[in-house]
């Protein structure tokens, strides 16, 4: 009578699961980046696909081999390396040499992610850190911007590939160098991505579509993008800058929606997210206004990434019953 059925599983509750997995979340992020990818191909041409393919391949292979070398289980199935590859490509100029792009993927995965323990353990956003390292290692490649739709005019490109007329200096650089308003792209062009810049950052419309998808799928909460952009807008206003250009230019949208919201490197609680995102906005605008660089989103996010553990420990939720009793 007390005979035990060996086939029954004994395990801790709960015994059911919501079906959402890390892989599903990463897939959602990939889906949310597709509109920006399509926009990028339209704006900067088929070379975008080459760069994206190179960074994704580099990230996935780096992840596969570094796990193998460390004798740990293979994790490429969680698709996080694909996300890193995509985001890295989005942060590169379209003219970047494939080898440099591949090197970026290697840095992101091996140095930033796997050396710190792999997914969930990196202390800064791998794609952003890799971008910063590339920017400092290959400043020429990393700041040579191509004009939108140049690929439609191959003849022009060969005639004067180095002339100023073709270099698609970013609006932020133009502002920094005191360009007149008529030298800047129109706001509508800015919104649709018809401007110089990293290949995935220019089309605000596509990035917003991706962001709305992520919020609707509850992959990210709107707190970080809203506070990041809100703070930047407010500071831009106070600094007497053009608010619309500040929001639509540089990596502001890409950073606020996709880079700053990375789970691993952003705070867990809502209060923490607010502090973190406000910090991102403040540092971005300080760099843009007072720094030597035209752009500050990457540095702002990476700096706030580093503060995340501190923010987390300072914003721990008060346990139930420890709050002032509501009567």
């Amino acid at each position: 009578m007390e005979e035990k059925d060996e086939k029954l599983v004994i395990s801790s509750s709960p015994h059911i699961h919501c079906e959402t997995t890390t892989r599903r979340i990463m897939l959602d992020v990939i889906i949310s980046l597709v509109p920006a990818l399509v926009a990028s191909v339209i704006i900067f041409g088929p070379r975008v696909l080459l760069i994206v393919a190179v960074t994704i391949a580099s990230c996935v292979l780096s992840e596969y081999f570094s796990r193998k070398v460390m004798k740990r289980e293979n994790t490429i199935g969680d698709l996080s390396a694909v996300v890193t590859g995509l985001l890295l490509a989005f942060n590169l100029p379209v003219s970047v040499p494939p080898l440099v792009a591949a090197f970026g993927g290697l840095i992101a995965i091996v140095v930033i992610k796997q050396m710190f323990g792999g997914i969930g353990q990196n202390f800064v956003n791998p794609a952003l850190a890799a971008r910063i390292i590339l920017l400092n290692s290959f400043p020429a490649y990393m700041t040579s911007w191509t004009k939108p739709y140049l690929y439609l005019h191959p003849a022009a490109a060969t005639v004067a590939s180095t002339s100023d007329a073709l270099a698609g200096a970013t609006p932020l650089a133009l502002i920094k160098h005191g360009a007149a308003a008529n030298q800047l792209p129109s706001l509508l062009n800015m919104f649709f991505g018809n401007r110089g810049g990293s290949l995935g950052e220019t089309c605000t419309l596509a990035l917003l579509i991706g962001g709305i998808y992520l919020i609707a799928r509850k992959v990210i909460s709107p707190v970080i993008p809203a506070c990041f952009l809100g703070t930047a807008a407010l500071l831009s206003l106070c600094m007497g800058r053009n608010v619309a250009y500040d929001l639509l230019s540089g990596g502001m949208m890409l950073g606020a929606i996709f880079m700053a919201t990375d789970y691993t490197t952003s705070p867990i609680t809502t209060k923490g997210k607010v502090i973190y995102a406000v910090g991102c906005g403040v540092i971005t605008m300080l760099i843009r206004n007072f720094g030597n660089l035209p752009e500050g989103v990457s540095y702002a996010i990476v700096l706030m990434n580093i503060l995340t553990p501190l923010i987390d420990s300072g914003t721990r939720p008060a346990a139930f019953g420890k709050e002032p009793a509501k009567k």
């Binding site: 009578m1 007390e2 005979e3 035990k4 059925d5 086939k7 029954l8 599983v9 004994i10 395990s11 801790s12 509750s13 709960p14 015994h15 059911i16 699961h17 919501c18 959402t20 997995t21 890390t22 599903r24 979340i25 994790t75 969680d78 996080s80 323990g117 792999g118 997914i119 969930g120 353990q121 789970y263 691993t264 867990i268 609680t269 721990r316 939720p317 008060a318 346990a319 139930f320 019953g321 420890k322 709050e323 009793a325 509501k326 009567k327």
Partner: protein, 441 residues
């Protein structure tokens, strides 16, 4: 204190939306034919185990007390069928602990004991003594002796009775059916508690996925202005005591405190019904309604069974298994305990037996935490499960205490939604054990 009845629930934190899987809600409960034998463990409640009052060979009748304890926090146990005591055996409970149990073999007569007669109650102590004599424990799953719950500690006053019909666990519908089928007993039980404890505010709290229960209860309570029905959001773990009190009254039970600290008593609806029946007929708690469901069960339904009936007997009554069960749960899939055999008896606080088939029992392989924060967002106790897991695995007892590990009620909301499939509740249990071990030192 506030005595008005709220029309909408107060705000609570966290929780998860879970597919309710209440397949058996619309189906009338079946009554199990008298089983051939029952086994009554001496521990069917929170508190001190009972000692058998009968010996092998004794003839026992339904409702006859067969075990009791001198301890205050305990509840007597009564024979649930008539027949002969076949022996005092050792059986292992769901949690694995070995306890004495009285095995009774039926004589097929289902004869009621002459001891069974309505109690005569004159005052509050008499009422509490009667409740104790009924063997009643919290039937929602906790198994806390009801007479202890109703004995308001000195210096505290209770102004609100909350009758819990939230029934937020997926699959389980025994409270749902109880509300529909035992309405009169429920109201009787409620009025007795109201009368003897001097409570003038009763809230029958129902999740909004049970419109028939809401309607039935509203009708039943129509004659008493002090009893209201409160419709709650269907959100797990709505029925957890602290969450429920907050939903109903907006009051927050202090950490480590009891419902009485905020003037509340929470009673499961099946307990109220059993109390009502006992006061009317004198029949102690010898039977209960159990939801039998899960993908491995052929004909899911609620069955009213004598306490101590073997699970297998009830499952056979439900047409047996549709497929070989991979997991059998005592209770619902969120907080139920997986058991090693279907040869265990149903005890007083079992509200359901859920048998999961191969596919449903599949557990995902844990991967690394990605710090998504979902567990923190859903925790109704405002804890940080991801941190508790890390501290527990690293045996960092100070940090576990600092992060209030003991306040976790193990509702499982965190692990349910964890995309990395981390065994958060399991780790937290380990963490609690570590803290307890330190306290003992």
């Amino acid at each position: 204190m506030d005595s008005s009845l709220p029309v909408s629930p107060f705000k609570t934190h966290g929780g998860v939306d879970i597919l309710s899987r209440k397949h058996t809600a619309a189906q009338e409960s079946a009554v199990l034919p008298p089983p051939e034998e029952v086994v009554l463990p001496m521990q069917q409640h929170v508190g001190a185990p009972c000692k058998p009052l009968v010996k092998t060979g004794d003839r026992v009748l339904i409702g006859q007390k067969i075990a009791d304890s001198d301890a205050f926090v305990s509840a007597p146990i009564h024979a649930s069928i008539s027949g002969k005591v076949a022996g005092i055996v050792k059986i292992s409970l769901a949690g694995g602990q070995l306890v004495d149990a009285v095995r009774i073999v039926s004589d097929g007569k289902m004869e009621t004991s002459p001891d069974v007669k309505p109690p005569e109650i004159k005052d509050l102590p008499g009422f509490l003594a009667a409740v104790r004599a009924s063997g009643l424990v919290g039937l929602g799953g906790a198994g806390f002796p009801t007479h202890v719950k109703l004995a308001v500690p000195k210096g505290k006053s209770v102004d609100t009775l909350i009758v819990n019909v939230a029934e937020c666990e997926p699959y389980i519908t025994s409270d749902n059916r109880c509300a529909l089928e035992n309405t009169a007993q429920i109201m009787h039980g409620i009025s007795a508690v109201k009368k003897w404890l001097g409570i003038h505010r009763v809230m029958i709290a129902v999740e909004n996925n049970k419109p028939d229960v809401i309607e039935t209860m509203k009708k039943a309570a129509a004659g008493d202005a002090e009893i209201g029905v409160l419709t709650l959001h269907s959100r797990y773990p709505q029925g957890a005591e602290k969450v429920l009190i907050q939903s109903c009254t907006g009051r927050c039970v202090p950490m480590g405190g009891l419902p009485a600290d905020v003037g509340c008593i929470v009673m499961n609806i099946a307990s109220a019904a059993a109390l009502g029946e006992y006061l009317e007929t004198g029949m102690p708690l010898v039977k209960r309604r159990v939801t039998i469901d899960g993908s491995a069960i052929k004909n899911p339904q609620n069955v009213i069974v004598p306490v101590g009936t073997y699970i297998k007997t009830i499952i056979d009554f439900c047409g047996g298994y549709r497929e070989k069960p991979k997991k059998i749960l005592m209770g619902g899939p969120m907080m139920g305990v997986s058991i090693a055999s279907d040869q265990l008896p149903v005890i007083k606080q079992n509200n359901g037996i859920i048998c999961l088939g191969e596919e449903e029992a599949h557990k995902m392989e844990p991967t690394a935490c990605i710090r998504c924060g979902r567990c923190v967002r859903v925790c109704p106790m405002h804890l940080m499960p991801t941190m508790l897991e890390k501290f527990a695995m690293a045996k960092r007892v100070d940090d576990l205490q600092e992060y209030n590990v003991m306040d976790c009620m193990e509702c499982g909301s965190c692990a349910y939604g964890c995309p990395a499939g981390r065994p958060l509740v399991q780790a937290i249990r380990l963490g609690k054990a570590l803290v307890k071990a330190r306290r003992k030192k």
